[in-house]
C-alpha cells in the first residue's frame, strides 16, 4: 500500500468513486463460423468493499469480461469500450504496464485449483513470487518467504511453515484453492475477481473456501467480483447481483431485490429451474425451453426472445436497454441501489409481481406411479446390495510386485431398491459412490458381500445369465458429450442395445421413433449425429438408449451435473415423468443434494466407503441424524439471500482421510464436530467401536433425545445421534 497505490490513485476524491468501472465493453473472437461476439456492450461498476455477483450460464460472457479486466485474453481477442480501475483506463495498456496492476491492485482466483499452480515450484515460493514481483527490490527474499507463510496461515493451511515447502501435487483441491487465494491477497489488493472459485470443489470444501474468501475480504477490504453459475453461492455472499445472458447484463440490482422480485423473464426462469434444498413437497421444476443463442450471427432484438414465454413481436425488432425497474413495493428506492432489467415488458411483470410459475408454463403435476401406492415393504426388490465390499490392492515394485496396502473403496454397504423407487446415493468425491455403481454394473462377484439384481445373485451368473440381467439394468452416464459415439447416427445409437439382444428389425424400426418421442425429441432426429445436438438433448438421447430395452432399474451417474441450470430442469422433469410412466426404479448417484432432494424417494449418504445415514428423503433432509449429513446439508447454499444469511454453516475441518488408511472406530470422528464436544469416555467409544446403522426411534432413550426422528424408514450410524435441522 505504498508508492504503487498513490501512483494509481491520483486524486483523493477517487477513493469514493467506483473501484472498477466497465463501460460499453465488447469482446469478440475469431472462429471458423465467423466472429464470436462474446461480450456485447457490458457496463457495470464495483464500489470499494462491495461484493458483486455475476451470474449466467456457460457462454454468457461472464468469464470473458473479467479476463478482459485482467488483460489476460488471448491476443486474437478484439476488445473495445472502457475499463477504468480507480479512474485509470486499463484498456490499451501494454503488458508491462498491466503487469504492475495485476496481482498488486487487482487479483484473480480461478476455477480449477488443480491446474492453477505451477507443478514444479513449492507453493510458498509461488506466493512469495507474487510479493517479490511487485516489491521492486524493497522486500528481501526471506521476508517474502515469511510473508508467504503468514498468508498460508491466514487462509487456514495447517503447519503453514512446513507446508510452504511442499509442491502443489501434495495438496488437495480445496487446499490448493486456499493457496491461490493466499496468492491473490498477497499484496492487499483493492479488487479480487473470483471466477467460479468453488465450482470444481465438493460442497463441504466449497463452504470452507467461501469462508476463506470472506476472511480474505475482511482482511484486505477488497471489493470482490464473484462469477458463478450457482445462484445459491451468490445468495449469501454478494451485495449486488448482475445476471448476464448472451454477452450482456440483463438484470442488475441488490441481491435481495433480485431474488425476491426478479423482473427479467430469464432471471425468473433461472430461479424457477433451480431444484431447492428447502423445497417442501414435490413440485415440477420450471425449465426454460431451447438453448442459449449462438453469438456469431445474433439476430436483432432481445437475444432471449426465442426462449421467452412472454415474447411479443416488439421483442424481435430491438434489443431492450437495461432500464430502471418501476418500483412497485420494491425497497430499491430506500437502499439507494437501483434495480435494472432489460425487458420491454418489465412494467407488466412488476405490476403483477410475477413468480416463475406465472411466466413459464409449468407441466402438470406428475401423477404418482401405480406401484408407489403399494406400501414399500410389499413391493418387489429390484436391487439388493448386502454388505458389499470392494478393496483394491496397493502394490509396489515392478519386477516383484508386492502388496503394501489396501484401498477400502467400498467397505460393507447394504441397501435395497424397490420397484418404482428412486434411491439417491450421495457423498463427496472419494467416498466410494462410483465404485459402488461400477460393482453393480459389472455384475461380477465383489470382494465381499453380495449384489442381487431382480432376485438373481450376480456371483452365480454365467455369461448368458449376465447378459439377460443387463436387459433389466441400464445406465445413463454423466458426460453426454463423451458417452455417445460421435460417428454413429442417433437412430443407430438407440438401435444398438436392441440389436445386441437380438430383437428383430421391424420391432427396432418401430421402437426408435417411439423412444425419441418418449424423451421429447422428434423421430426425424434419428438420422442426425450426436454433434448436432446440445448437451441437454444429448443427455436425452443417453436416456433413450438406456430405455431401449425396457429396463426395470436404471442407474444414473450424475446425469445432470454437466448441464446448465435451465437445461438441467428439463432433464430432471423428464426423468420424473418417465419413472411415473414406465414404473422405473432409479439408482441416482449425485453430489448435488438439491437435485437428489427433488428426484429421490430415499437417500443414502456415503462417507469413506460406508453408508452413514439412509432413509426416506424427507426424513433425512428434515431431521438429519448423522453429523456428516448435517455438515453436508448445511454446506449447500440455498438460493434465498435472507435464509442464507440466517443459516449457521457447519464447516468441517480438513480433508477426507485416505481410504487406504481409514480412522479406527467411527470413520468420521477425525472431522466430526460432535466428537469434539464429547466427554473422554464417550470419545473412546467413537475411537473403539465402529457404529452400525440403527433405526431411528427404536433405540433406547432415542425418543427423548431426538423427538423429530420418529419415522420408520431412517437409519443412522452414529453412537450419539442428535437431530439437528440445518436446511
Amino acid at each position: 500500500m505504498t508508492a504503487a497505490d498513490t501512483l494509481l490513485d491520483p486524486s483523493p476524491s477517487d477513493a469514493d468513486g467506483p473501484v472498477l468501472a466497465v463501460s460499453d465493453l465488447t469482446v469478440s473472437f475469431p472462429s471458423e463460423a465467423g466472429r464470436v461476439r462474446a461480450v456485447r456492450g457490458l457496463s457495470y461498476e464495483v464500489r470499494a468493499g462491495e461484493v458483486l455477483g455475476v451470474v449466467g450460464e456457460s457462454g454468457s460472457g461472464k468469464s470473458v469480461s473479467s479476463m478482459a479486466v485482467m488483460g489476460l485474453l488471448p491476443p486474437t481477442a478484439r476488445v473495445s469500450g472502457s475499463i477504468r480501475f480507480r479512474g485509470r483506463e486499463l484498456l490499451g495498456l501494454s503488458d508491462v504496464e498491466l503487469s504492475r496492476v495485476r496481482g498488486d491492485r487487482v487479483a484473480m482466483v480461478f476455477q480449477d485449483p488443480l491446474s492453477a499452480l505451477t507443478p514444479v515450484f513449492p507453493v510458498g515460493e509461488q506466493i512469495a513470487e507474487a510479493v517479490l514481483v511487485h516489491a521492486g527490490g524493497r522486500v528481501s527474499r526471506s521476508a517474502a518467504a515469511r510473508r508467504a507463510v503468514e498468508l498460508l496461515d491466514l487462509v487456514g493451511i495447517p503447519h503453514a511453515a512446513e507446508r510452504a515447502k511442499a509442491f502443489p501435487h501434495e495438496f488437495s483441491g480445496g487446499m490448493r484453492q486456499r493457496v491461490v487465494i493466499a496468492m491473490a491477497i498477497a499484496n492487499d489488493p483493492d479488487l479480487i475477481i473470483a471466477d467460479e472459485p468453488t465450482t470444481a470443489l465438493d460442497v463441504t470444501v466449497q463452504a470452507q473456501v467461501l469462508e476463506v474468501l470472506k476472511t480474505a475480504q475482511e482482511v484486505t477490504g477488497a471489493a470482490i467480483v464473484l462469477i458463478t453459475h450457482d445462484l445459491g453461492v451468490v445468495a449469501g455472499f454478494a451485495d449486488r447481483l448482475m445476471v448476464m445472458y448472451a454477452g450482456r447484463a440483463v438484470e442488475t440490482g441488490p441481491v435481495d431485490e433480485i431474488y425476491r422480485r426478479p423482473r427479467m423473464p430469464y432471471t425468473l426462469g433461472l430461479l424457477g429451474a433451480l431444484p431447492r434444498l428447502d423445497a417442501e413437497g414435490k413440485q415440477p421444476l420450471v425449465p426454460i425451453e431451447g438453448q442459449p443463442p449462438s453469438l456469431v450471427d445474433l439476430p436483432p432484438g432481445c437475444p432471449f426472445a426465442p426462449r421467452c414465454p412472454m415474447a411479443v413481436p416488439e421483442c424481435l425488432t430491438e434489443e431492450p436497454a437495461l432500464l430502471a425497474v418501476p418500483d412497485v413495493g420494491s425497497d430499491a428506492a430506500t437502499t439507494g441501489t437501483p434495480h435494472h432489467a432489460a425487458c420491454v415488458r418489465v412494467g407488466e411483470i412488476a405490476r403483477v409481481d410475477a413468480a416463475p410459475e406465472d411466466v413459464y408454463e409449468v407441466e402438470a403435476e406428475v401423477p404418482e406411479p401405480e406401484v408407489a401406492r403399494v406400501p414399500r415393504a410389499e413391493r418387489a426388490t429390484v436391487l439388493d446390495v448386502r454388505e458389499l465390499v470392494r478393496h483394491y490392492p496397493v502394490t509396489k515394485g515392478t519386477v516383484f510386485r508386492r502388496r503394501v496396502g489396501t484401498v477400502r473403496a467400498v467397505d460393507g454397504i447394504t441397501f435395497d431398491i424397490r420397484e418404482g423407487e428412486t434411491l439417491g446415493l450421495v457423498g463427496e468425491s472419494g467416498c466410494g459412490k462410483t465404485t459402488t455403481l461400477m460393482e453393480i454394473l459389472g455384475l461380477a462377484a465383489p470382494t465381499g458381500g453380495s449384489v442381487a439384481v431382480l432376485g438373481k445373485d450376480v456371483s452365480t451368473l454365467d455369461r448368458r445369465g449376465r447378459k439377460a440381467v443387463r436387459r433389466d439394468l441400464q445406465v445413463v452416464f454423466q458426460d453426454p458429450m463423451a458417452s455417445l459415439d460421435p460417428r454413429m447416427p442417433v437412430g443407430d445409437i438407440l438401435a444398438e442395445p436392441m440389436r445386441v439382444h437380438g430383437e428383430d428389425r421391424q420391432r427396432i424400426a418401430r421402437r426408435v421413433p417411439e423412444l425419441l418421442r418418449l424423451v421429447g425429441l422428434r423421430p426425424e432426429h434419428a438420422d442426425r449425429y450426436p454433434a448436432e445436438f446440445s448437451g441437454g438433448q444429448r443427455q436425452r438421447i443417453g436416456i433413450a438408449r438406456a430405455l431401449a430395452l425396457e429396463p426395470r432399474l436404471v442407474v444414473l451417474d450424475e446425469p445432470v451435473s454437466a448441464l446448465d441450470v435451465s437445461v438441467q430442469a428439463g432433464v430432471i422433469n423428464l426423468l420424473d415423468e418417465l419413472k411415473a410412466k414406465l414404473g422405473l426404479a432409479y439408482l441416482f448417484v449425485a453430489h448435488d443434494l438439491s437435485v437428489v432432494r427433488h428426484i429421490a424417494d430415499r437417500v443414502a449418504v456415503m462417507y469413506l466407503g460406508r453408508i452413514v445415514e439412509i432413509g426416506a428423503v424427507d426424513a433425512v433432509f428434515e431431521t438429519p441424524g448423522h453429523p456428516y449429513t448435517q455438515a453436508l446439508l448445511s454446506a449447500i447454499p440455498i438460493p434465498d439471500p435472507e435464509k442464507e444469511r440466517r443459516r449457521e454453516r457447519i464447516i468441517l475441518a480438513g480433508d477426507l482421510p485416505s481410504p487406504a488408511n481409514p480412522p479406527s472406530g467411527c470413520r468420521f470422528r477425525t472431522r466430526c464436530f460432535l466428537h469434539a464436544t464429547l466427554t473422554d469416555e464417550d470419545r473412546r467409544r467413537c475411537v473403539e467401536v465402529d457404529p452400525a446403522l440403527e433405526r431411528q426411534g427404536d433405540r433406547a432413550g432415542g425418543a427423548e433425545r431426538d423427538p423429530g426422528a420418529g419415522g420408520a424408514d431412517h437409519e443412522v450410524a452414529c453412537h450419539f445421534t442428535t437431530v439437528r435441522r440445518v436446511v
Binding site: 508491462v96 504492475r100 496481482g103 492453477a116 499452480l117
Partner: protein, 324 residues
C-alpha cells in the same frame, strides 16, 4: 530417490550384459573368421588353420566363449582381434574420438533443438514457426549420409571462395600438423565442425518438433495464466513457469534420442574418415571379428543406458512429482 537411482543403475548393468551377450552370440554364429585364411593362395598348411581355430576357441560353445571374454572385460582386457591386435590398446583412442563427436553433437543438438522448439511455439503460425517446421521435416527426411555429403560439398565451395582451407572434412586431425597447443586445438576444431554439424542438424530437427508441442501444451495451461495474474509479464511467466514445465517430457526423449545418434554416428564417422567406434563396427563386420563387434556393442549399450539413467536424474530434477 538415491535408492531408486541405484536400483535403476543395477538394472542397467543387467541390460548391458544381455545386449552384449546377444550381439556376441549373433556374431559368433554368423561370422567365419577363418574365411580369409582359407581363401589365401597358396592355402596355408592345415596346422596353421587349426592353430588359429584353437586360438579363437571356435570349437568351444558360444556361452563359454562369452564368459571367457566377459571375464577378461571385467579385468579391462577386451581380447584381441582376428589379426591378433589387442583390442584394449585401440579402444581408448576410438572411444575418445567418438565421444568428442557425440557429446558435442548432442549438446549442440539438444540445446538448439529446445530453443528452436520454444521459439516456434511462442511464435506459432508466424514465419519463424513455418520456417522451423520446414527445416525440421527437410532434415528429418534426409538420410545422414546425404546430409554429410552435402556438408562436405558446401565446405569445399566455402574453402574455394575464401581461398584457404577453413574447414577440413577428412580425419579428426591433420597428420602432418606441427605447432603449439593453441594451434593444435584450432586444427582439431576445424576438423570437428562439419561432422558435429552433421550429427547436430538431425538432433535439432528431432528435438525441436517435440519441444514445440510440449511448449504449446504449456502455453494454454492455467498456471501460466495464474503467473500472469499475480503480476508477471507474459515473457517472464513463459520463461520462469512455462519453460521448465515444458522441458519435463523432453527428459524422457533424451534417452531415446541417443540411440538415434549412435546409428547416425556410424555413417558420419565413415563419411568424414573419423576412426571412431562406428567406423570400428563396420571394420569388425568386414573382418568377421566377434570381439570387435561385441566391444562396440557394449560401448553403445553403456552409452544408451547411461543417457537413460541421466534422463531419469534429469526428470527427477525437473519434476518434483516423480521424486519419492
Amino acid at each position: 530417490m538415491a535408492g531408486f537411482l541405484l536400483r535403476r543403475l543395477a538394472n542397467y548393468v543387467v541390460l548391458c550384459l544381455v545386449a552384449t551377450f546377444l550381439a556376441f552370440t549373433l556374431a559368433s554364429l554368423t561370422f567365419d573368421p577363418l574365411a580369409k585364411l582359407n581363401e589365401r593362395n597358396p592355402p596355408p598348411p592345415a596346422s596353421t588353420i587349426e592353430a588359429k581355430r584353437r586360438d579363437l576357441r571356435l570349437d568351444e560353445p558360444v556361452p563359454q566363449r562369452f564368459v571367457i571374454w566377459m571375464s577378461g572385460v571385467v579385468r579391462g582386457d577386451f581380447g584381441s582381434t582376428v589379426t591378433d591386435q589387442p583390442i584394449s590398446a585401440e579402444l581408448g583412442r576410438r572411444v575418445g574420438v567418438s565421444l568428442r563427436l557425440f557429446l558435442l553433437g548432442t549438446i549442440l543438438g539438444v540445446s538448439l533443438g529446445v530453443v528452436v522448439g520454444v521459439v516456434s511455439a511462442v511464435r506459432q503460425y508466424r514465419f519463424s514457426d513455418y520456417f522451423a517446421t520446414l527445416f525440421s521435416f527437410l532434415v528429418l527426411s534426409t538420410p545422414v549420409f546425404l546430409v554429410g555429403t552435402l556438408l562436405k560439398f558446401g565446405a569445399l565451395r566455402l574453402n574455394e571462395t575464401v581461398g584457404v582451407t577453413v574447414l577440413y572434412f577428412t580425419g579428426e586431425t591433420d597428420p602432418s600438423f606441427q605447432g603449439g597447443w593453441i594451434a593444435a586445438l584450432l586444427d582439431r576444431l576445424r576438423h570437428l565442425v562439419l561432422p558435429t554439424l552433421a550429427i547436430a542438424l538431425h538432433q535439432i530437427a528431432y528435438y525441436s518438433r517435440y519441444q514445440r508441442s510440449a511448449m504449446l501444451d504449456v502455453l494454454g495451461s492455467d498456471f501460466l495464466r495464474t503467473a500472469q495474474a499475480k503480476g508477471l509479464t507474459r515473457r517472464k511467466a513463459l520463461f520462469k513457469h512455462g519453460l521448465r514445465t515444458a522441458l519435463i517430457p523432453m527428459a524422457t526423449l533424451f534417452a531415446f534420442g541417443f540411440g538415434l545418434l549412435v546409428t547416425g554416428g556410424v555413417f558420419t564417422e565413415r563419411i568424414f574418415s573419423w576412426f571412431g567406434m562406428g567406423d570400428w563396427l563396420v571394420y569388425g563386420v568386414e573382418q568377421q571379428d566377434t570381439n570387435i563387434v561385441a566391444t562396440v556393442t557394449l560401448f553403445v549399450a553403456v552409452l544408451v543406458l547411461v543417457s537413460g539413467w541421466l534422463s531419469d536424474v534429469l526428470y527427477a530434477a525437473l519434476d518434483p512429482r516423480v521424486r519419492v
